[in-house]
Amino acid sequence: MRDFQLLAPTEESGEPFPYRRVWRPLTLELGLLATAVLFIIFATRLGILADTYSRPLSAGFALLPLAAFWFFSVRRENRALEPRQGLVAVLFLSIVMANGIAVPIISEVFTPERWLPGAGFFNRILGYAFTVGILSEFIKYAVVRYTMWPNRFRIRLDGIAYSTAAALGFATVLNLRLVFYDELTLSSAAVNILTNVYIHIAIGAVIGYFLGELAIGTPSAIWLPIGLVSAAMLSGIHFAFRGIAISSGLGSRTLGGLFLVIGISAAILGILSFIIESADARMADKLGVRRIR
């Protein structure tokens, strides 16, 4: 005779979740940016907006992710029962590190524009990952690791919250330089700004996951190196595929890169969300504690 086990109904908790949610505000920030970019693309193609170089408009657009971050994350953080301290400090420290260290090294030492565009697909992956990729990800890692980690890490999602703030700071520096030095048309600037923000936040979240797991779980001694190398390789893979998407086109050259970065970012963030959720559930079972969601 078969034994059947009854599933216990989920216990409703009266206790509120004490921390600010991470995934929802992040999705709103990224969604707002994507909506704004699509508006600009259609407005310029329909002739509502002139697709010319406009420094004020492009600069405003480059700062839009910061405004969205303040509105959806920083403002709500202050309303949480247990707010995360230092999110804005991480953002500004990342801006300083990106502008003071990463950009000079990339433009003066690595000079990727001299050797990567003409290289083959796998050479582009490795070349980008081992220079620009690893440096960018290490800076995001260092900003969080040597300021907030581990004292401010109470749950795994803290890693995502802090690292995406660092990634946003990094992307903002690239975007402002793009606006002030490259003189792109409005639609092109918008697409490039979105690309920078999406890919840096998605890959920064990978670093955040590895930092969060090191703070909460019991990973091996090579956990962080694995995280850094994985993040660097992901940026190399994005760079290599972006070259293909833009040059071959998925309907049009600009939109090819746009869809690619949205797809890659969604995949990375979705996978991370699943992994963190599973790890939290396993840990709750192991410790015998009740989860508040």
């Binding site: 220079t131 890692y141 840990m283």
Partner: protein, 201 residues
Amino acid sequence: MSYFENPKDFSEPQIARRVNLNSGLAIVALLVLISLGMIFRGGILTATVPYEDEENGIRGQIPLNWLLDENQSDYVFRVEDPNARPFKTLIQVSLQTVGPDANPRSVVDLLVVQGPDRLPGYHVQSILQTNLGEDEAVEIQYSFIQSDPNPFLQSVPVVVQGVDLVVLRGNQAVILTYRDAVENYERNRPYFDRFLQTVEY
């Protein structure tokens, strides 16, 4: 525990040791990967392909991925870096017939005289006696102004620095030329030096 709180005590020796190992190895990973990246970069930037022109008897290693142009009347071949800005870095080999009693210096004098007609703003900076392998050579350094012939591009003229290296081969002068925008001249000069190390004529 009513909700997740970090249960770890980072002052525990085992945890502290693991954290230190992770942090140290992360820095090692950064250094190793960047070193590999720079080696990789050097390999791609200095990669060459063999070039051979049997008819004119010129052979050498030219930079990979540069654009090759040959069979023109005034040069044997020229290669240009298509990604270079504001002037496409150029290496060129040309031949000039000379008399039986000619020497490299007399060819250089001819180039100096012809220079202003061929290159706008031509200005000789130095003429040096040197060697190419075991052969005597004369090197002439000069600069000129490169303007885009298309007036609609509205580009600013570029100051170009160049070098012509002249060696004699029987009744022919082999003229090896390198030109680049003055701000990139020194940085890209190794391309020309590597070509000189491999050229056979």
